[in-house]
Amino acid sequence: MLQMQDLTKSYGDVVALDGCTFAVGPGQMLGFLGPNGSGKTTTMRAVFGLIRLDRGAVTLNGNPISPNDRLAFGYMPEQRGLYPKMKAGDQLAYLGALHGMEQAEARRAGLQLLDELGLADRAEDPVEELSFGNQQRVQLAAALVHDPSVLVLDEPFNGLDPIGAETMANVLRQRAQNGATVIFSSHQLDMVEDLCEEVAVINAGRIVMEGNVRDLKAASPHRVIEFESSNGYAAVLDQLDGVITTSFDGHRHTVIVPAELDVRQVLNRADSDSGIQHISYSTPSLSQLFKEAVA
């Protein structure tokens, strides 16, 4: 269990972390969400001891993290960085060795990973000659080469095409299935919703929402009704008892209501006119939960 306990850090007047506390267990994949500047990168750096915390600590199974523990950690920093002139294969072998692998073993593991990521034929190329997206893949390989048991990735989906994103998602899912602890940050909430069972949302250095995505949605006091209609009902719907907000994009109505509200009441009212289709009633999406949480 990787535990962030009361992480607190200020840079001068700027409070980067303000008692951030959450945990991830083996086999779990946690989506770490938060607006810009909320403290995600700072938290991840704390895991690797790259910053000195003002208060609090990151622990692994209840113990402070030692440099030895970190040999089994993998990190993909927000600011990607590899040696531009070094060959992809050499680079992975070097990083693997720094994590305590035998040179030959590290090289083999690196080549196999490049193969999995569709870069088998680029192992002998300097990283600077790869496209941006392919450099990202090498960066992922760099975080994975030593088969880490704790994997921390800062916005790993940034800059990937849909196929690259899917490859990345599959790799992460598979590592978690094999028992690794996986944390990654992202601003692509739909992707996180598909990929993760667990999320933690940080805002201004504090965790404001944490838990299983399904449970969080079920526990939400709100429900979302959506339907299509050519007419604008916004004004009418707003008048209804219990409706919290409504919106209309010229095509589709979205009505947020309290969970306990009888949905038929809304539909009856709307139904008085024809031309309504594609009605849905659901728990809020992760991005709605997110917006509420950080509001």
């Binding site: 790259l50 440099p67 040999l71 950690f73 990190y75 920093p77 050499d90």
Partner: protein, 400 residues
């Protein structure tokens, strides 16, 4: 993982990647070519040398005639060395002719050679030739008078003619020591600055391309810094030795001027101080490199250090003139100037054993302290991107 194996990995990467980089190979080749050109050009351009000899008193003609014979035995007629021989009234007249460069050497009474200075290139060759001619004559005479073999050996080993320069009596060893003092000083300065610059840009490079954050997740800052300094130091030393050997070999083959036999202790001292000086400056250059995020800023971050080296370098010329003076003694114990001063004083035999050991101890202490301090600056600087940091800011904000 053990510290030593992490350090070894960092050093090995530096050696492998930098050692086979086009930049390293090119700089080695260019330096070597430039040095060889500097050595060969004078010989290639000058063709044969012409000598002008002054004679004072008696007993000189025989030696000079034989010397001319020896010099031109195997030469094609149009490539013969031209000798101009003048007779001078007195030793004073000879000295005057030497100073005004009318003659390259004077022979006095068949027993003494008078030269302008100990390191004048053509004068050296000429005096060697005269010595050879004189000993040949001596041997002939001994053979004629049936002298013993021991005498012959004596003559072959020794130099039958006395040697005097306008600057006083000069021994070969003194001459070698002066060459070492001057040459060593130059080389030290060039090596410290150019290899220091490698460390500087190497560190900034790692910071500017952000690979450093991945590395610091497993490697401690001081390991990264020390590994870089050791790796670059080894490559620098290899390049240094390679060009030096190429230069020495060429000097011998081309015979531009006679190489004195270098005293080994001076050479050892030079290499020792190369290592000490390089370590001190490189650690500081590495720390300076960690203060900036962009390659363009690297030079400005290192300006204070470059200035210190420059001042040390120029002050050492004062030391060359007065190796026992107060300045020399003070600079011996100032770590950043010692590499420029101690080898010079040692070569000129003006430093005591105690002072020497003292200066080495101070330097090593400084290196240990710097590793710690530069490591902290480096650690503080590495993960702070953006504008250039001040040394103090980096020291205080060190998070690692």
């Amino acid at each position: 993982m053990k510290t030593s194996s992490t350090l070894r990995l960092v050093v090995m990467r530096e050696l492998r990647e930098r050692g086979r980089s086009a930049a390293y190979i090119a700089s080695t080749i260019i330096t070597t070519v430039l040095i060889l050109l500097a050595i060969l050009l004078p010989t290639l351009l000058s063709g044969s040398t012409d000598y002008s000899i002054g004679m004072v008193g008696t007993g000189n003609q025989e030696i000079v005639d034989l010397a001319i014979d020896i010099e031109n035995t195997d030469a094609e007629p149009d490539q013969e060395t031209q000798f101009s021989v003048t007779t001078l009234e007195s030793v004073e007249a000879a000295e005057e002719a030497l100073s005004s460069e009318e003659i390259d050497a004077a022979l006095v009474n068949g027993s003494e050679i008078l030269l302008r200075s100990a390191s004048g290139a053509s004068g050296d060759d000429l005096s060697g030739l005269l010595q050879y001619a004189a000993s040949t004559l001596e041997i002939d005479r001994l053979v004629a008078t049936a002298g013993s073999d021991a005498d012959v050996v004596d003559i072959l080993a020794g130099e039958p003619l006395g040697l005097r320069t306008l600057e006083g009596v000069a021994s070969e060893e003194n001459q070698a020591r002066t060459v070492i003092a001057y040459g060593g000083l130059m080389l030290m300065y060039i090596a410290v600055l150019s290899y220091g610059a490698w460390t500087l840009t190497g560190v900034t490079e790692e910071k500017s391309n952000r690979v450093v954050e991945v590395l610091l997740a497993t490697v401690k800052p001081w390991q990264l810094l020390a590994g870089k300094v050791i790796g670059i130091g080894a490559l620098g030393l290899a390049q240094f030795v390679f060009t030096a050997v190429a230069a020495l070999v060429t000097l011998r083959v081309a015979g531009t001027f006679d190489l004195p036999a270098f005293p080994t202790d001076s050479l050892v001292m030079l290499i020792l101080w190369f290592l000490l000086g390089f370590a001190m400056y490189s650690l500081l250059f590495g720390a300076a490199g960690s203060l900036v995020s962009r390659m363009e800023d690297a030079q400005s971050a290192s300006t204070p250090l470059t200035l210190v080296a420059l001042v040390g370098f120029f002050m050492s010329f004062l030391v060359l003139d007065d190796p026992d003076g107060v300045l020399a003694i003070v600079m011996t114990y100032v770590p950043l100037t010692a590499p420029f001063v101690v080898p010079v004083r040692f070569a000129l035999e003006s430093i005591s054993m105690v002072a020497l050991i003292g200066s080495v101890v101070v330097a090593i202490g400084f290196i240990i302290g710097t590793t710690f301090l530069a490591g902290r600056v480096y650690a503080g600087g590495l993960l702070q991107f953006g504008s250039k940091l001040k040394w103090r800011e980096a020291l205080q904000s060190s998070d690692l």
